[in-house]
């Protein structure tokens, strides 16, 4: 029920104002700090007033740190993550909705289960697998006794090794397998007339043709929103890039930002430069949100349903 009482309006406005202050305050501090000099921070502490050093600080970030390379890494990771997630979810939802697959329900349930097991929970096992992507295969060979057999016959057990740590592929792959996209597309496909697939078959279009000519154009808004959502989440990932990449040249921008704080004690970090870096790194997702806001909202609504 919507009340029109004045007192409620005032209370609501105050609450909202507090909320806005809570969110905008740190952003303001970031910007104002980024525009002051290191010396100002050393003498005055928190920068409550904006200064004039913003571009000097940004130039410092670009010339003196690895942030530009790391932003490129972030770009590659976020973009491939978004692209691969869209492709994978689209195809898996297509298979689940339009084909009679044995155990389709079970498969879908397993895919959904990944939503409840975020990367943060399985980061250790993911690291183990990434350090040798054949380790699951090796384990299977060990457990089934096949390795004992090969050891007997050929003198040595099979042991394959390939590490994808510190590669772009290694950074992207664990992020891609995620059920949200499949769920989103499945929900969307279910809203389409169910005879569409049959009509296309009568018109002579096979499954691939149907996918390209009918399904993809219809799903374009959903694909766009999933792309934006996964791009943003790929860009802001922290834990996995921190673990999965060990050299500064492979790290992503968000990890790189955190690394700008010096490890040694007693030294005051160059906060203006770090904040300028933070502003730079936020520019990409901010631009994206500004331009593709429509799809973002649509995607959030779809995944809520």
């Amino acid at each position: 029920m919507v009340e029109n009482a004045r007192s409620i309006n005032i209370v609501a406005s105050i609450l909202l104002a507090i909320g806005i202050l809570y969110i905008v305050g740190p952003l303001y501090l970031t910007l104002s700090t980024a525009s002051q000099s290191y010396e100002y921070i050393l003498t005055n502490g928190l920068a409550w007033v904006p200064g004039t050093e913003l571009f000097t600080n940004m130039a410092k970030v670009i010339h003196d740190t690895r942030i530009p390379v790391q932003m490129l890494n972030s770009m590659i990771v976020a973009f491939s993550n978004a692209l691969a997630t869209c492709a994978l979810s689209f195809l898996s939802a297509y298979a689940i909705v339009y084909f009679r697959i044995r155990w389709a329900g079970v498969v879908f349930a397993l895919i959904l289960a990944t939503i409840m097991l975020p990367l943060d929970i399985r980061v250790i096992t993911t690291y183990q697998v990434a350090s040798n992507i054949f380790s699951p295969l090796n384990a299977v060979l060990d457990v089934t006794g096949l390795n004992a057999l090969t050891a007997n016959m050929f003198g040595a057990p099979v042991h394959l090794e390939l590490s994808v740590l510190n590669t772009h592929f290694g950074l992207v792959a664990p992020l891609v397998a995620h059920g949200t996209g499949t769920f989103l597309f499945r929900q969307f496909f279910l809203t389409l007339p169910k005879d569409l697939f049959k009509a296309a078959r009568m018109d002579g279009a096979g499954p691939i043709r149907f996918l390209i000519d009918i399904l993809l154009p219809l799903a374009r808004p959903s694909v766009a929103s999933l792309f934006v959502l996964t791009f943003l989440s790929g860009w802001t990932q922290y834990l996995w890039p921190l673990v999965g990449a060990s050299t500064p040249d492979m790290q992503t921008a968000v990890v790189g930002l955190a690394r700008l704080v010096p490890d040694s004690d007693g030294q005051v970090p160059d906060f203006p430069m770090i904040m300028a870096g933070a502003v730079l790194v936020s520019l990409v997702p901010l631009t994206m949100i500004a331009l593709l806001q429509r799809f973002l909202v649509q995607g959030l609504v779809l995944s809520e349903k």
């Binding site: 005879d195 049959k198 009509a199 296309a200 078959r201 002579g204 000519d213 009918i214």
Partner: protein, 376 residues
């Protein structure tokens, strides 16, 4: 119009189903072996209650469902293992199933595009078909901007553009309102006459079946109850199921016993003379009963329904329900007991166990009663 009439004209193909069955697993058989032959250019309506397997049958002909056994022969070719596009069929769906992102023209031309027909030829064919289905002014629109009837026309246009030998309709009119349904029925009949494709039309609406069909195939639980012209089905139903399914209100079915000379109701009233003994089911249409014309059968009125053009009396006869249709203006006192007579020529007799009709039972030329041939 004459140029258009000749532009889209299909070479009608005959369809033969030989022992076609459909079973999803060992327990659920949707369609037991079915044998039926449809003549080239014939308009067949498959009629039955929901769940009788009529849509499955249609989809098996189309190639959207695999057959579990048997052969489907279209135009002399065995097609049961072919993909839909190689069978020469086109289909109109119940919910239209138009491609929402394509314009009317693109929707209709899609099958030609898939088949690799050149752009110029496609545009020319779309023009012809659009005129035929009355959509020439709507070609650049999207389906979302059209009314239900117009969408249905697009679906029909999309089906006929390839000049298929066989046109399949899956309850295409059930989403339309009553007036539109009537108009589309007339248009469909006209289109069928002009295109000449063999048409199979699935519906549960007996009015559509009676008005459109050359022959009606009545399905019940996957079995063919009767396959005949609308007239024959109305006047000579082959079973109790058909008798009750066709006609509004449906035919009255009364349980009677033959004592060797007459058929009697449970309360002993004689309804007709008949020489055989045993229990039977007697059928008579509500409009065939003669009221207060010196008849000897007594019935009590329970309820009276005035429909303007005629009225329907619900009466009670030997504890069974009997419906009578009366022409408008008939003087009937609701309190009154009616005296009825059942014209002999209008009676139908059915075996009480199998429900199949016993033909010529009341033929006074004394031809021996014959059982109607069963399809299975």
């Amino acid at each position: 119009m004459t140029a258009i009439d000749t532009a889209i004209r299909a070479t009608a193909a005959d369809i033969e189903l030989i022992g076609v069955t459909k079973a999803y697993d060992a327990k659920t058989t949707v369609i037991p072996p079915i044998n039926v032959a449809l003549r080239p250019g014939e308009f067949t309506v498959v009629l039955g209650p929901s769940g009788c397997g009529k849509s499955t049958l249609l989809q098996m002909i189309a190639g959207l469902e695999r057959v579990s056994g048997g052969k489907i022969v279209i135009g002399g070719r065995e097609v049961q293992d072919l993909e839909p596009k190689h069978r020469g069929c086109a289909m109109v769906f119940q919910n239209y199933a138009l491609y929402p992102h394509m314009t009317v023209a693109e929707n209709m031309a899609y099958s030609l595009k898939v088949a690799g027909v050149s752009k110029a030829d496609r545009a020319q064919r779309v023009g012809v078909v659009a005129k035929m289905v009355g959509l020439a002014d709507f070609l650049p629109r999207k389906p979302g901007q059209l009314s239900g009837g117009q969408r249905q026309r697009v679906a029909i246009g999309r089906a006929i553009i390839r000049e298929p030998g066989v046109l399949l309709f899956d309850e295409p009119l059930s989403n339309l309102d009553a007036q539109l349904r009537h108009d589309m029925r007339v248009e469909l009949a006209d289109l069928h006459r002009r295109i000449g494709a063999t048409s199979v039309f699935v519906t549960h609406d007996q009015v559509e079946a009676m008005t459109l069909a050359d022959r009606i195939l009545i399905l019940n639980k996957g079995l063919i109850e009767q396959f005949d012209t609308p007239k024959a089905i109305y006047h000579h139903p082959a079973s109790v199921f058909v008798a009750k399914f066709i006609g509004a209100p449906p035919m009255n079915i009364l349980a009677v016993t033959g004592d060797g000379s007459a058929l009697r109701l449970a309360d002993g009233q004689v309804v007709a003379n008949y020489a055989d003994k045993g229990s039977f089911q007697l059928g008579i249409r509500p409009e065939d009963i003669a009221v207060n014309a010196g008849g000897s059968i007594k019935a009590e009125i329970r309820y009276r329904e005035d429909l303007g053009s005629h009225e329907i009396l619900e009466t009670n006869i030997a504890d069974q329900n009997l419906r009578i249709t009366m022409p408008f203006g008939a003087e009937i006192d609701t309190e009154q007991t009616l005296s009825l007579s059942f014209p002999r020529a209008r009676l139908h007799l059915f075996d009480s166990e199998t429900g199949r009709a016993i033909h010529n039972a009341f033929d006074d030329a004394k031809t021996a009663p014959t059982f109607v041939k069963e399809y299975q």
